[in-house]
Symmetry: D2
Subunit: 307 residues, 4 copies
């Protein structure tokens, strides 16, 4: 399989109300490592199994939520190509200069029909503490907290789900791995992938634009989901739901909130996606099982609490 174009979710910039509390949460509890703290106040974090310099950016603000999500593409040339294709599907494309984030090359940026800002970029410096590559150990440092391996994906809520799905499919070559559909045919949720992962981005239809449901981080397996749950209660972190499993993607998961009210997920597992797989579809009346496979009902927070 030639792997071209958009490679993966590369970073997410999250707004937090109190940086100190946020760092305790993301570093000591989730297990991210602080990379740098810049003059504009943004703090850059890195997960232990990522080669790139950073994957999470925290920005102190009055309201929680997501500022932007970035996808890494394979080549500089892809940026030019995707800029054209984004314009072809009606997106306004902005340029972000190299260095706006330390160690990151030029980005192109657009606001999708659901109101979320996405960036594409081809260059990021390698981490100062990447996975080893010469006679590599399976880990370079002892994991801390939940020991998340990488930033994995986001679930976003917004109004024009069809519009955003169309942009990602038509301009950026994503595929729709899984959907939830109302009886009248309205798409309620769309799970999009640009890789062998069951999803790299998920979108749920919602009245407001630009809402952030969660950022998700990868764990090794179900055993680590259980250990994450122990940490969540031990440190009195606000839980949403779990440990449980998603029917969609089959991921084993737990949801909780950072101190600013942004939802996080840590998860493991899920099927491998291939572009010749038939699409998986869920009926709206099975959405409970689709989202929380064990409980088989949604909790109110899942639909209502977003930042």
């Amino acid at each position: 399989m030639a792997l071209t174009g958009v490679l993966r979710p590369g970073f997410v910039q999250i707004r937090v109300l109190d940086m100190k509390e946020a760092l305790t949460h993301y570093c000591d509890r989730l297990g991210l490592f602080e990379v740098s703290r810049e003059k504009d106040g943004r703090v850059y974090l890195h997960a232990m199994d990522e080669f790139d310099r950073h994957s999470v950016i925290l920005r102190e603000a009055d309201q929680p939520g997501m500022d932007r999500m970035g996808f890494k593409v394979r080549t500089e040339h892809d940026l030019d190509l995707f800029e054209k294709r984004l314009r072809d599907v009606g997106m306004e494309v902005e340029h972000v200069e190299a260095g706006e984030q330390p160690g990151v090359g030029r980005r192109i940026s657009f606001v999708a029909p659901t109101g979320h800002r996405f960036d594409l970029y081809a260059e990021m410096e390698q981490s100062a503490l990447p996975p080893m590559t010469h006679n590599p150990d399976v880990m370079q440092v002892d994991p801390k907290g939940m020991g998340v391996q990488r930033f994995d994906h986001c679930l976003l809520y917004g109004d024009d789900l069809d519009g955003t799905e169309r942009v990602f499919v038509e301009a950026l070559d994503f595929e729709v791995s899984e959907t939830v559909t109302a009886p009248d045919g309205t798409r309620i949720a769309s799970f999009l992938t640009c890789s062998n992962k069951a999803h790299d981005l998920a979108i749920v239809r919602h009245d407001e634009k630009g809402k952030f449901h969660h950022a998700s981080f990868l764990l090794e397996d179900w055993s680590e989901v259980g250990r994450a749950a122990d940490i969540i209660t031990r440190y009195n972190i606000s839980i949403d739901i779990g440990p449980t499993r998603h029917g969609i993607t089959r991921g084993k998961t737990i949801y909780f909130f950072d101190p600013s009210g942004n939802r996080n997920e840590v998860f493991a597992g899920g099927y491998s996606y291939y572009p010749d797989n038939p699409r998986r579809n869920w009926d709206a009346d099975e959405v409970g099982k689709a989202i929380f496979y064990y409980e088989r009902v949604l909790n109110d927070r899942f639909m209502g609490v977003v930042t």
Copy 2:
């Protein structure tokens, strides 16, 4: 990421000395399901999490070993394209008619410089018992035995490792994720991927052509590797090594032999590969740790016993 060209290892045809014993092994112990038994005596098997009709083909013969390994490509057009590119790197390409395997379309086939036969094909009927796609459960039937999810990859032994690596990289767009190299620069082992998996094919340098080290099947996690080990001893299956872990790919693994002496692996885990990852390299004097991360030495069987 646009996923194009070669998608994945799709099937392996294995020679067995006694079909009945082989079926007990592959179906009752590994957990494959019998799909069909054809007039020419070949028996077709399917793993529980595969959409395609079959992935393992057993053929009764006087000598164990691998007849051929097939890769599924995305489109019929890819077959024409790869035929040309294979010829461009000096491969003789044969045509195999649709239907030579039941439910499989036309294949192109070549013998790589290490003496192994590989097929490419774009079409295979869907399994009669595939993963569910409408309000899907995480499994359709109870797993049996080790409960392998899919055929995952092969490790092959042969003389002209550089030649075969070159064919897969130059003609088929594979990437080399990891290598083992001798002090004089000779490549001892090469791990090749066409996906986000750490490897889809592995080759070790060896005096003889066309040797088969193992076919590997995916499990969910380390816990299932342990359960597989219980089954191996309970049913007196000949073990090679494990449970252990590979330094290369980081997979958690156990090796054992089918009743004909062909080596099998069941494994879980391993890193996700992306084409912008730096290549991982092992020195020859660390090959023990590379292959068996916990033991840090090779056993004699790993280098010597192939079929």
Copy 3:
């Protein structure tokens, strides 16, 4: 440590509304094995890691619930001793003849102050399919369904909690490992052990006498709790809560209902208890965390739904 007197929970007799559905549930889903079906209609079941003939008895009736729970004592002489001590604390003791359950010796029986009937017995025939003892494999047969290893304990609801606790402590040498206590000092829940297990019997204060909260079965680890959860949804079994963890005992658990509405638990883990351990105590306002460590709140069903 000399292990004397009451050894362990040995059996539970459960009322079910439909025997056929019950057997599908307890045998195919939990993984018990049918031992015998007697003329009076009772069906005797056995778990794969138990030496004794049976541990679960199903009786078809108009109302679900628990008929009786039996404890195995070490010697026949213990029965005489405990009869006297039970009478000393005010219990009426009945004699049940050997053979009332097939393969079981004479029992002494009493109704505790909470209205539950308990039996003590010293003799039960060995299972026809016990764990192996000569060059034993770790399992004799492949596990099926959830693969429960043994019947482990019951949680019972009743009014005179203090009375029943007193009987088990004063007459039967149980110890109280853990409690939940109201601000006024009223005991809300009591966890009792006669072994190194964190509990062999649990009692919760409740308005009605003789109620059955759940029978619990042991699994190997958290990984098996997850597999049990998959089976529960796959076979559309009514779930109560989980996978989660208890603060009390630390067990990792999932609760669900048999087709008659009796609650079952499958669980793994929990601390080892020793008689020199200080007692663990929970305040009533932390009862949510005590029962469901991750959710930190009780669901209504936990307190209200009993049979």
Copy 4:
């Protein structure tokens, strides 16, 4: 079950060649916590899930090995009782004054026929960092390294196996849960328990007196055995064997060496023992499977390397 007499293995005093290296090993890698360092140079360690002050004592010396192993008994009165019974089976009993180990009451001490010194004691101060008991969390501090929960048992090598077994059974009320026996009836190995654990002490017949095979520490489950294996290779700890499983006790295990050459085990699982269980017996020609259930052969180190 009334739990009386000897409760459990309470401490082991191990000789190490270099205290600094030993502390890195036992604290940073296994996850014990340093409790105190006394004037005589001994360092006292504690595991995270133990109530007592210490369980491992390191003493710097010229030769590695075990100085003594201590068992906690339930009452002071038990000490007097066991002293008499030990003398009755021919043991010389010494008195060790309270305070010889900080926080520990008077001990009685004897050298068993295999040449190992054992102590019994009834009183030890509670740890400054014990498991919580009031609204307890499942852990008080984050685990570090392998996160061992407790010191669990020792395996000792010595000549007069029958003699030592007899002392533990006849004077101290241990039971023999499992044995390995030569064709001529000679006992090769004996596994002894004073609890519901499959073993609290194990002895293997060996030419020399007083040899130390390993001290063992408890982990939660197989998943943690895997994580321990990662740490062993990551920190270049000398491995013996594993991850594997014992046929005897069914424990899931990994063996490795401390920097002084003393063998350690970390393990999880194993059956629950009850005094009415039939004894499990292994024939000598199945000893490989008995010890290493997956490999089914002993490695030379298992029989030959002791300290």
